[in-house]
Structure formats: C-alpha cells, structure tokens
Amino acid sequence: MRYLKGFSLLLMASLAACSKGSNTTTLVGNWMKRSQYEGVARSSAASFVIDNKAYVGTGYDGTERLQDFWVYDVDQNQWTQITSFPGVARNGAVGMAMAGKGYVGTGYDGLNKLNDFYEYDPVAKTWTKKANFKGTARYGAVAFALNDKGFITTGYDGNWLKDNWKFDPTAPDAEAWTQVESMNSGKRTDASVFVIGNKAYVCMGTANAANVTDFYAFDGTHWATLNPIANVNDDSFDDDYNFAGSSAAAFSMQGKGYIVSGIKGSYSAAVWEYTPGTDRWVQKTDFEGAARSGAVGFSLKDRGFVGLGASSSLSLDDLWEFNPTAEYNKND
C-alpha cells in the first residue's frame, strides 16, 4: 500500500510535469471552499458590503421570494440573521453601500416589478424607507456606488433598459433621484458590474434573447466605451473572448475585475479577469463549484467571494473564496 501511494504520487508528479510542459495555456487561480451557507440557499439575492462585512438578503429559493437578510463575517466565517427587509419579498433587487449604509430596492415580487427603495443602518440595525426609485419599476438592474453616490442602471421593465439614475443619500426625498447620462447603447438586463478606482464597469447581460457584448465604464458623469467582450477586433487579443452571457457574479479585488459563472447558452463555470489599465480580459481557472446563475459576488478585505445562486431548479447554499494568484489545485 505504501509503495502504491509512492508510485501514484510519482505518477501524478510526472503527469503534472508533462501537463505543465505541453500546455501553454495553463489557467491560474484556485477556488477554496470557504463556508457552507447551510440551508440559506437562494438565487438573485441583493447584497452590499459595509465595514468588511457582506450583507445578503431577499432572493428566490426556487419556490418563494424571500425577505430575510443575513450578514457574513469573513474573519469568523459565520452568518448572523439581521433585521428582515421591510419591503415585500422579492428577487432581482439591487444592493449597494455608500457612506456606511446599505441600500436595497427595485426587483420583482412574482407579480409586480418594483421601484421601492430602502436604507439599512448597520449600527442601529434598522431599515428606513427612502424615496422610491424614480426610473420605471424594474428587476435585473445593476447598482454601484461612486464617491458616496449611488447609481442604478439597466434592467427590465417590460423592455430592456439602459437609463441611469443617481441617488444622493444626503438629499431630501424629492431630490434624491436624478436621471444622469445613459449608456450609449447596449440596453440589457441581468448584467454585471464591478467598481475599480472610482469607475464602474458594466458588462454582460441579455436583451432580445441575445447576449450583449457592449462594455462600458462610468466615472460618475460619463460613460466610456471599452472593447466589446466578443471577437470583433482584427487584432488577436479578443480572439478568445467567448464569455458574453448573463446572471454572472462579479467582484473586484487587487485592482482587477472578475466575472464568474452565469449563463452562456447553458450554465458556465468560466472565470474572466479584467485589467482596466490595458482594457484586456484573460481567462482564469474555472469556478470549482457548480456552474450557476444569480449568484452573489463581493470582495471583503481585497478577497473575492462567490456563492449562492441556482443551477437549473436547484438553489445553492455554498460560498467560495477566489485566490487569483494560486496555482490550480484540484485536491483542496
């Protein structure tokens, strides 16, 4: 038995050596199982991060839309149920944080598209209703915060959208929402967004049953058009860009953006990394968990996490941490 072990180790080592030598497109990045979100499985949840804690709530468990809200502590690797979301149970809502408070709004209750909007105070542990979102009621939008102002853009109100609305948390209710510059084109729902250095990068999503390849960055005032996530350029850099899809998880860490899993025709486990300085994408090691849609992605202490979501009709409860520099290790 001991010899067998030794031999198999030797065999594995030689195989590894072979694959390293012969495979020039070795993918780098390692997924480790960080925690089991036991039983709290759901897709299309809203999430935001305050003070290195991730708040995750609402969503859809495969049968019902949800109102409960949880906070994840990365140091303790544990969850605490917080004050329930005060609006109706929903999925496809957006979440964002600014100036130490969390915000959740819009979404779908199974019958109606929604435009209500709420603020969470993590110190008092209370929710407060804020001015309704001024755009049309919708779900599948994206939200992000830049310089303590919030933005909600894209989504679906019966049509695919590209309008963009700014929320000022310090303004009185009547002036809280103002419409700002829309994306040049690329109406979509179920898009992804990550923020790097006070710019929001919006990509992915669907419209008219097609995956949208338009890719934009927003600096708080204007949208800049970036290289599409499709093989459209004569140069070779985008020859491998095959990851246009929807309902993917996104997060940023260490100055780079990540798009994880989602639906690309079928469920995809692909992970792509974006570098803003060069406007280039590179594929990383596939997500080790089940390929899924409607997962949450967030970064805490410059560490990236992806979890929950759904695969076919099955709601998932697992949470994974991504280490972009680790060598891929299938046995961890």
Binding site: Q78, Q81, S84
Partner: protein
C-alpha cells in the same frame, strides 16, 4: 500438524473472522451515520442578555448576538428564550429549510422581548 498447531491456527482464524465480520458490520451500521453532521445549539451571554450559536459539524454557521428579524440591537432576555429560538432555527436547518426566523414566528414562540 500437531493438535496444538491446529488449535493455534483455528484460534487465529476465529480472531480474523471476528475482526472481518466486525469491521463489515461496523461499516453497514456506520454508513448512514457517517453522512450526518451534528447541528448543535449553544447559548451564550452577551450585552446583559443571551444569544445563540448554531454549530454544524463543529463549526459555528450562525452566530446570533441579536434577536433575528426584528429591528434594532435586542438580546434575548433569558437563556431559555435564546435556546427556544436556536432550537427552532436548528430544526429548520436539519429539515433543509431556510433557517430564518420571522417576527411572527418570534411572537408564536412567545419571545415577549421581541414585541
């Protein structure tokens, strides 16, 4: 073979047989048991009141230092109340239900400090 050797060989055979049967018996009885992870509710004192932890397979998955679902920083007034809600959450967890508590469920459990 001497009589003594036969006894020794037979003895060894019996020991081996008992060992093998015992091992396979343990396997069949432990099979389903090995898949089960323990879910344990542990109350703890905090802020002049009580909270609970739900430990799954030795790790704390749910750390409840405030009364769940209701607004504000409220603690359970007694160990019994914390345990009552903790057990309720653990039961949901083991039934593969979302382990959330609603304000109505707190009322149903007579958690008066949550009113």
């Amino acid at each position: 073979m001497t009589k003594r050797n036969i006894i020794v060989v037979a003895g060894i055979a019996v020991i081996v047989l008992v060992f093998v049967i015992g091992k396979s018996y343990r396997k069949t009885t432990q099979g389903p048991g090995a898949d089960m992870v323990p879910v344990v509710v542990v109350p703890f004192e905090i802020n002049n009141g009580w909270g609970y932890k739900v430990n799954v397979d030795g790790h704390t998955y749910i750390y409840q230092d405030v009364i769940p679902s209701i607004p504000g920083n409220h603690v359970f007034s007694s160990k019994e109340h914390a345990m009552r809600v903790g057990q309720f959450v653990a039961a949901k967890l083991t039934q593969n239900k979302i382990p959330s508590v609603s304000p109505q469920e707190l009322r149903d459990m007579q958690i008066t400090e949550a009113q």
